[in-house]
């Protein structure tokens, strides 16, 4: 018997495709964000509000993932921006190859921002790098405030937590401060935006976060490669 060292990541093929995608996004200066949450936390609704708010000439596109149906893409196409549905046919997450395939006929030079809406799932999407610049996790106030401790992986890997459905706070026993504290136990640098897509609260902060993140992304590109 002989033990030989093995190197590399287990999801080596996904990591390779994701690295290629990241390089292409960098080259074309497209900020890519990956929205992840449980089913029903409000990813599509936040996207609807985002597209509704963005000026018509914004160079934005959306990829939206689900196990079945084109429903989300149909909801999002109404705003006039390029939208594509990724139907995974049962797979519980998006992977880098799916992104590569679905952007194949888009000209990345025409884009400043690509928003990826992952499959509703708080676990599996966290393992798959899509070449994005930032993962964003959504947590709605109708869920438990201990979700960050129960599903630490995605909170660890996300730059921003969007607390959604805040208009329901008076009616549900959700402790927003505890949720935030839990998220920061897992990820001390976690940024947070609280939004109600129904009432409109916090949407400006969310849009400002996106714009600021894009500025940071562009600033990174102009720095000399060490």
């Amino acid at each position: 018997m002989n033990r030989v060292p093995m190197e590399g990541k287990v999801l080596n093929e996904n990591a390779r495709v994701a690295a290629e995608l990241r390089e292409r996004f960098r080259e074309h200066r497209v900020l890519v964000v990956n929205l992840i949450s449980s089913p029903g936390s409000g990813k599509t609704t936040l996207l609807e509000k985002t597209l509704e708010t963005l000026p018509r000439d914004t160079r934005v596109a959306v990829l939206t993932g689900d196990l079945q149906t084109e429903n989300d893409a149909n909801r999002l196409k109404r705003y006039g921006f390029p939208v594509k549905q990724i139907v995974t046919g049962g797979t519980c997450h998006l992977d880098a190859r799916m992104i590569e395939k679905h952007i194949a006929d888009w000209n990345l030079s025409d884009l400043d921002l690509l928003i990826v809406e992952n499959v509703g799932n708080l676990v599996c999407p966290s393992s798959y790098d899509l070449g994005e610049s930032a993962k964003i996790v959504l947590l709605s106030v109708t869920e438990g405030e201990d979700k960050p401790l129960k599903y630490p992986s995605i909170f660890f890997k996300s730059e921003l937590m969007v607390l959604t459905k805040t208009d329901l706070l008076p009616y549900v026993p959700f402790d927003a401060d505890a949720a935030l504290a839990n998220a920061r136990r897992v990820h001390p640098e976690m940024e947070v935006v609280k939004v109600s897509c129904f009432a409109g609260d916090g949407l400006r902060e969310w849009m400002e976060w996106l714009e600021l993140r894009r500025q940071t992304f562009l600033a990174e590109q102009t720095q000399p490669v060490s």
Binding site: M1, N2, M6, V10, C92, P152, F156, V186
Partner: protein, 137 residues
């Protein structure tokens, strides 16, 4: 249940390693998984067994090293493991820490042995260019 896909990727990695080592059979593969990788070891073991059942890998064992996240204190430079999301530096009590690891999902090693079944099969072949004696390790 993305553990099924991960188990499959482990087997692909093993198969690729074996292609570089003709005449070898894989006995055990070791992988390191961080507690923050979002991979459940039990589900992974289950998926691995299901995928290898009645295949060339049916005797391949999976060994998972499940590692806790670690951080470094920015105040006193102490590196420490995190249990139950307790982020305070155990030395100086500071909360000013940076995360070092926790989301590993990587190969560590592969245990291989000479593939006797392949040798036996080769020796039965009439043409058997592969009958050349192997120098095994």
């Amino acid at each position: 249940m993305h553990e099924l896909g991960i188990a499959n990727s482990i087997l692909e990695g093993v198969a690729a390693e074996l292609r570089r080592r003709p005449g070898s059979r894989a006995v055990k593969v070791g992988v390191r998984i961080g507690e923050l990788a979002g991979v459940d070891p039990d589900a992974l073991n289950f998926a691995f067994e299901a995928l290898t059942l009645d295949t060339e890998f049916s005797r391949l064992k999976l060994e998972v090293e499940y590692v806790p996240p670690s951080s470094r204190c920015r105040q006193c430079d102490r590196e420490f493991e995190i249990r139950n999301f307790e982020l305070l530096c155990p030395d100086c009590g500071s909360l000013d820490t940076e995360r070092l690891s926790g989301d590993e999902l990587e190969f560590i090693y592969l245990e291989i042995e000479e593939d006797e079944s392949e040798l036996a099969a080769a020796s039965r072949e009439p043409s058997a260019q592969s009958r050349t004696p192997r120098v095994g390790g």
